[in-house]
């Protein structure tokens, strides 16, 4: 084989090898964002009936623990407030007790009124589901007989930064 033939053969091999390692690139610019997210949900339909008492004491309070609540927030130090749409009948008290998620604090059993009150504070960047939610109904003897009634309890997640 002549020198020129060798040269061309090597050239072909080099070109083939180059082709085997050749690469090409292209780019895309991806734009993204995570906005403030605050979500709360409750489940369950609690029903409370006071129908007994220990003689000499006020009517016996009743509780319902069939409800749960869930929360997602990507902010810090958020709080949960609770309120009812209309005032309770005189002598009746409806209270709620929410179990706090990790790192947060519950205010414990808290009486509900038309003014929102904190029930959980210090919720920071978490998602937690199936947390305990207990309602309690108290009545004084002076409340008398109260016909069946409902109250809508509104929970609001607020104050995260």
């Amino acid at each position: 084989m002549s020198k020129s033939t060798n040269f061309l053969t090597i050239g072909a091999l080099v070109a083939f090898a180059a082709a085997n390692t050749a690469s090409a690139q292209v780019t895309q610019t991806v734009t993204f964002q995570v906005t403030a997210i605050n979500q709360i949900a409750v489940s369950g339909a609690p029903s409370l009936t006071i129908n007994t008492a220990v003689a000499g004491s006020a009517p016996t309070a009743v509780t319902s623990a069939v409800s749960t609540w869930s929360v997602t927030t990507n902010q810090s130090t958020a709080s949960i407030t609770a309120s009812i749409a209309s005032a309770m009948p005189a002598g009746l008290t409806l209270s709620a007790n929410l179990t706090a998620p990790a790192g947060a604090a519950s205010t414990g059993l808290t009486a509900l009124g038309t003014t929102a009150v904190n029930v959980v504070t210090g919720i920071t960047k978490l998602n937690s589901a199936g947390l305990g939610l207990t309602y309690q109904l108290d009545a004084t003897a002076a409340a008398g007989v109260v016909s069946s009634s409902t109250r809508v309890v509104t929970y609001t997640i607020t104050g995260g930064v």
Binding site: T9, N74, K125
Partner: protein, 152 residues
């Protein structure tokens, strides 16, 4: 030099020139994209669950030349994602094997392998997800580099 030797030389020359032309053609191997995806924003969640991931499948890529044997496509980003935020990419591949969803990082990873011939208009799917712990992440960008490599 006799006629036979001359003929052999002409054959080798032809092979060499063909090889050069073949190599040169594939050295021009091209990968292209249809544009940039629109901004992806994580804005919602189901209470109790992590923020809801969002996807964008509105851009495509094309490999406009045939491989010598096969093409592989790799993907990487120019800087790490914020803590708790994940950007996944999935490339469709009608003439190759899609690796499926790949979490993008600054290290190039295979996203498509074994491409046997050119292909056009293949869908690129991006998925942005975030944990609650990621917090609020301001608008920002990452440059995704897709690299087409000849492989055995």
């Amino acid at each position: 030099m006799n006629a036979s030797a001359s003929a052999v030389r002409r054959i080798w020359r032809t092979v060499a020139v063909a090889g050069l032309a073949f190599g040169a053609r594939d050295a021009r191997a091209q990968i292209s994209v249809s544009g940039n995806p629109t901004a992806m924003k994580v804005t919602a969640a189901v209470a109790g669950s992590a923020p809801t991931a969002v996807s964008n499948a509105l851009t495509t890529y094309s490999l406009s030349t045939n491989p010598v044997r096969h093409f592989t496509v790799t993907a990487s980003i120019n800087s790490p994602m914020p803590a708790g935020v994940t950007l996944n990419i999935t490339l469709a591949a009608s003439n190759g094997v899609s690796v499926g969803a790949v979490t993008l990082s600054t290290v190039a990873q295979n996203v498509v392998t074994g491409v046997s011939k050119r292909m056009f208009g293949q869908v690129i799917t991006y998925t942005l997800s975030a944990t609650a712990a990621a917090g609020v992440v301001p608008l920002q960008t990452r440059i995704v580099t897709l690299t087409q490599i000849n492989t055995p």
